[in-house]
């Protein structure tokens, strides 16, 4: 199972005098089971790019292939693609609408054609995976806290049993614990259920800690596509793109300049701690 974007270009407003080339020549292969982060300045093309991944946008030129099949060749049902690739948009809690949490999560699977009892089963599983306590299942989603609403909204997409889950800034506006809870749950889905996760994020610290592969978008093109360590080694270039490395990485570079033998590729607090302790005890 893989998703391939081949030389994808996308223009907004083609044929008008306000053309904007939002995605430029993007070629990308997403393999099964990856945990990928996408970072980029506002307007760098992140959101436009992810909308190609489940057929919400059709490339102006280039192709999108799911399991080797061209999703825009006419015979491929986009509804089927969307069952495989789920997108959780920014502030998904605004899309909750049913009278109870449980009904809301059942909406997706029912639309996929599942019978009530089958839809109920997958909804239960999705709610469990998102750690929603059972006493909330029959409450109105509007009575929950911001963080809980967001988990319910993610469960709604998860209940459609996607192989790949794309989330656009799922932690925006949440408190530090809420952010960590969501990221830990996504990480578990990835490890235990082998769901491919693509995380669009503005937090360098979060992607440094969680993802295996980091894609950096700049002005519609892919600027970097490598492990977080490799990407953050280019912190000076990232700054020219309105991005940065995690704070600890900068600190490690400063320590090195002062003559300490530390590992400047450290991108998390844990790595920085180990390297500093080793340098001091040397």
């Amino acid at each position: 199972m893989s998703l391939i974007l081949n030389e994808v270009n996308y223009y907004y407003g083609k044929g008008t005098n306000l053309v904007s080339h939002a995605v430029k020549d993007v070629t990308l292969t997403i393999e099964d089971g990856e945990f990928i982060g996408i970072i980029g300045h506002t307007g760098s093309g992140k959101s436009t790019l992810i909308q190609h991944m489940n057929g919400l946008l059709k490339p102006t030129s280039g192709g999108v292939y799911y399991n080797g099949r061209d999703v825009h060749d006419g015979s491929f049902k986009l509804k089927e693609l969307r069952s495989h690739v789920g997108i959780v948009f920014q502030y998904p809690e605004y899309q909750l609408f049913e009278a109870t949490v449980f009904d809301d999560v059942c909406f997706g699977p029912k639309n996929q054609g599942l019978k009530d009892n089958e839809a109920g089963l997958v909804a239960f599983e999705a709610l469990r995976d998102m750690h929603i306590p059972p006493e909330m299942y029959y409450q109105s989603p509007f009575e929950l806290s911001g963080g809980q609403k967001r988990l319910v909204a993610i469960a709604g997409v998860l209940a459609m049993k996607p192989d790949m889950l794309i989330l656009d800034e799922p932690t925006a506006g949440l408190d530090p614990r809420g952010r960590k809870e969501i990221l830990n749950l996504l990480s578990r889905l990835n490890r235990e259920k082998h769901i491919t996760v693509v995380l669009v994020s503005h937090s360098m610290e979060d992607v440094a800690e969680y993802v295996n592969r980091l894609i950096v978008m700049d002005k519609g093109s892919i600027a970097f596509d490598a492990t977080p360590k490799e990407v953050f080694a280019h912190y000076k270039e990232l700054e020219t793109m309105g991005l940065a490395a995690p704070k600890v990485t900068y600190f490690m570079h400063q320590l090195k300049e002062k003559g300490w033998q530390v590992d400047t590729s450290a991108i998390t607090v844990e790595e920085a701690k180990k390297s500093i302790l080793a340098a001091i005890r040397r």
Partner: protein, 283 residues
Amino acid sequence: MGIMKAAKLVHEYIHRDDDGNVDHIETALNGVDLDIEAGDFIAILGHNGSGKSTLAKHLNAILMPTEGTVWVDGKNTKAPENTLDIRKTAGMVFQNPDNQIIAGMVEEDVAFGPENMGVPSQEIWQRVMRSLNLVHMEAYKNHSPNKLSGGQKQRVAIAGVLAMQPKCIVLDEPTAMLDPEGRKEVMDAVLELNKTKQVTVILITHYMEEAIHADKVYVMDGGEIVMEGTAREIFARVQELENHRLSVPQITKLAHELKCSGLPIPDGILDEEELMEAICHLS
């Protein structure tokens, strides 16, 4: 009395069922005492649902106390005749820039506040230019706000508040929807206002890094103020903050972890420079 003061402030949201009967009562603020000195930079931290935004709305007379009293610049928010003065004293900036920009051109948007206050038109344009200068957005005065980045829009929203020449500005998670560069632009603008114009700033945020410059930090949980002190005092209490669903800035966390591993590093390290000094001190 400081420029903003709350005494035993209680706020209850009353939820009603379809027939209008009281279903349940939610206590969002439960006996908050607060005294903010003019010119201070105050940060208010707390998890989602801890009561921060409810408190902010009391500081600008959008909400009225269920019990207790709030004074803004010595005026009781409960008296209707004070409402306009209070809103002139305390300007408010919200989380979503798109919800607070109304005009088709940046300068018109900034002029909206003073126009409504009845400021003479010559002075309005002076205020608009001054406010845009303060947030470094003068080059965009003739632009359409919807073409701006999130950070730029938020700075226009701040300029719109500044044009009313408030003594205080209350910002409710102004950077939550912005990218790192936008966050920095907004924070730099806010800090500069506080330092150069002595505008009292009350910043509500989920980004711990943004609180390290504050003169005073309040932590809220369950509608109460549970911790208060300087940024250094607050961020020295790592475990306590985590119990309130919060965290500390990444460098503070690193310093704390190093200390827990046995290095003699002081509590409450706030930035790279301080940690560097502490580490260089070891050798």
